[in-house]
């Protein structure tokens, strides 16, 4: 398995892990009555901003851990160079990711028009964002294995 494939698998699991843990923590605070996410939309903004910061820091830490473990296991310290094939794969995967995110947003808006509560759109953003990331990394794994 190539370095890029391993990195994408780590990205998928770290995305699921970070989003899952953060969502559980926020939901528990909501259940305890610390804030009401069905009414307080300003709080959603704060939650999203904190999530961005937490996610970036957690990913950097997980990436460093992955790189150390990979360097020990494969005895390759140098990162592979990014060439034209890597760039093309990233481009196509990002396109798939945008399609997924756009589709999720449109679906959420349609649901909103059909009577879904307003807070549902924030939940849809989180779910669609996570799905788009999985599609991005999953597409990269697919293109690396099957060709582009």
């Amino acid at each position: 398995m190539s370095y890029q494939e391993k990195q994408n698998i780590v990205n998928i699991f770290s995305g699921l892990l970070i989003t899952g843990i953060y969502a559980i923590l926020v939901y528990q605070r909501h259940l305890r009555g610390v804030f009401d996410l069905t009414e307080d939309f300003r709080k959603w903004g704060v939650i999203f901003l904190i999530f961005m910061g937490v996610s970036i820091v957690a990913r950097i830490i997980l990436y460093i851990i992955f790189h150390i473990i990979n360097a020990i296991a494969t005895r390759e310290e140098k990162l592979p160079i990014e060439d034209e094939r890597d760039k093309l794969i990233k481009l196509k995967s990002t396109r798939n990711s945008y399609y997924t995110f756009s589709g999720g947003c449109i679906t959420a808006i349609v649901w909103l028009a059909l009577g879904m509560p307003v807070y549902g759109i924030f939940v849809a953003f989180v779910a669609t964002g996570l799905l788009a990331e999985i599609v991005d990394n999953g597409s990269q794994i697919y293109y690396y294995r099957k060709g582009v």
């Binding site: 060439d83 099957k146 060709g147």
Partner: protein, 73 residues
């Protein structure tokens, strides 16, 4: 599997160049070994620039390194 209509003789040319390894060719043309593997297998069609760089390494005309097969579905 995404098979390219562009076929190549890189494996044969490497063999004729004193069993040049995929890594050596990759280093010469400035790409990763995985990209050379993908090109040899027909899973990736290189850019025109990379195709020229590969042909220059073997000192061979481009059309002898890469051929276009329009009959491939």
């Amino acid at each position: 599997m995404v098979k390219s209509k562009i076929q190549n003789n890189i494996r044969k040319l490497r063999f004729n160049s004193g069993e040049m390894t995929q890594q050596q060719l990759a280093d010469e043309v400035g790409v990763s070994r995985q990209t050379i593997v993908a090109i040899e297998k027909g899973n990736y069609s290189p850019s025109l620039e990379l195709a020229f760089r590969i042909s220059h390494v073997f000192n061979t005309p481009l059309e002898e390194v890469f051929t276009y097969n329009s009959e491939t579905p």
